[in-house]
Symmetry: C2
Subunit: 267 residues, 2 copies
């Protein structure tokens, strides 16, 4: 049976403050936890049914400890609507961000993406398109929020998400690199006409309702836009969802690079 202290630790990890203090996060579900145990992440505890632990004994052995729980207990500790048979508590990795490493690559900057589902989806998109680093403003959803972890479908284990003051980041970027900074706006150069150089760049995505902040806008070197073909041009849609816009821009960046000879890893 789960002790009270374990219950209270698990519950406390639903709050950002506690995750930050303890540098721990929670992952749920067989697929995600298997990927986690198979990764270089340090897994503290695996909570799982006896069956899961028996069938995955080798994998489970890489965790510091395992705790057998029944489904009723699982439903008490799970933050999912449908509790799954396994859950893990792991250490938040200390990703270091080096500006030197951003050359010849595309990096995402999220200027206040508030919805955890959107952030998770964006991390999954970044993973697909080989974007290694995502830089989030401090008011963005937090990467280790259980909703983000789950929505990323394991991609959070591969993409490095950094939280930092964007003003400082852009100032250093400008000083130390010559990377272009693209920002998605409702008006700008068509993404289909933008030349995304092989030498890399930074793509800024703004908040779901208010877009890119003026404080960030000043660092944008090229405003880009996704053209609309809406039939009703007067009363058409106002915008695309932030994750959808990210996906379209990333795809267009990659298509551009493919034309220049940089090939996909899988197709």
């Amino acid at each position: 049976m789960l002790s009270r202290s374990r219950l209270s630790i698990l519950r406390s990890l639903r709050q950002k403050k506690n995750r930050r203090e303890q540098q721990l996060f929670v992952a749920e579900g067989a697929k995600l936890v298997s990927e986690l145990l198979d990764s270089s992440f340090e897994v503290e505890t695996v909570y799982a049914t006896v069956r899961w632990l028996r069938e995955n004994s080798k994998l489970a052995a890489t965790a510091r400890e395992t705790v057998a729980v029944d489904m009723e207990e699982m439903s008490r500790i799970s933050s999912q609507v449908t509790p799954q048979e396994v859950m893990a508590v792991a250490h938040i990795p200390a990703h270091k961000l080096s500006l030197d490493s951003l050359g010849d690559k595309y990096t995402l900057v999220l200027d206040g993406i508030r919805d955890p589902g959107n952030l998770g989806t964006i991390i999954r998109i970044a993973d697909w398109f080989g974007i290694e680093n995502i830089i989030c403003s401090p008011d963005s959803a937090e990467a280790w929020n259980p909703k983000v972890v789950q929505a990323s479908m394991g991609s959070i284990l591969r993409v490095r998400v950094h939280e930092t003051n964007l003003e400082h980041f852009f100032q250093s970027l400008k000083k130390e690199t010559a990377l272009p900074v693209y920002g998605t706006f409702l008006e700008g150069k068509s993404i289909y006409q933008s030349a995304f150089p092989k030498s890399g760049g930074v793509l800024v995505i703004g908040n779901e309702s208010t877009g890119i902040r003026p404080e960030t806008e000043q660092y944008i070197t090229e405003k880009i836009t996704i053209p609309s073909w809406s039939v009703s041009s007067e009363s058409g849609p106002e915008s695309l969802n932030a994750a959808v816009a990210t996906a379209i821009a990333c795809s267009e960046i990659r298509r551009n690079m493919a034309v220049k000879g940089y090939q996909a890893t899988k197709q």
Copy 2:
């Protein structure tokens, strides 16, 4: 005060069976209801605060009736987490699907998109890219589900969503038109290398976890794929979210057509 019979009608409309029987749906929020009242949709009842009704008297007059409610009543009838000050009940339009009208256009076919949020997002994407018709298999999420209506952000008022037996649809399409049928798969021709003709076509998107069914696959004339540039090619992401894949494919179709001289309406 809201009568019991009104309360029970509104509650009943949360179920697909009742929406279908009464051919009514619910829309919530100032922006969506304003667009609805401004459209050709037939609005039965507007439930709103006295303030909203006063400030929007002209618009509200286009509804068959208006009912003033307070925020406490609104929270009882709303299906949103945060109830808004206006809600409307409107008639589901009887969209007719004519195969003749699909030429020179791209049409989306959804083969079992189950998540209402995904369907709403796909409708919004279709609206952005000027796709006029979406054809859904009967086991897809239902277009008039409140979650779909809200996630579509008003695009459900502009894009015509049809629910039909896909086998019958594809048989007629094959017999009566020469339109190519593209399907997104994990393996296929790169979307960046596909020639999407100006003469139009059909794009099939499969279920979130199981993809396109074999029964549908037989009608696909060109399998297409979104290449991945994932850094970890062995343990990379398995797929993209269905709405994200739709967005990338629609963007690529439009870019292709733009190259051929068909211009965006807004950019």
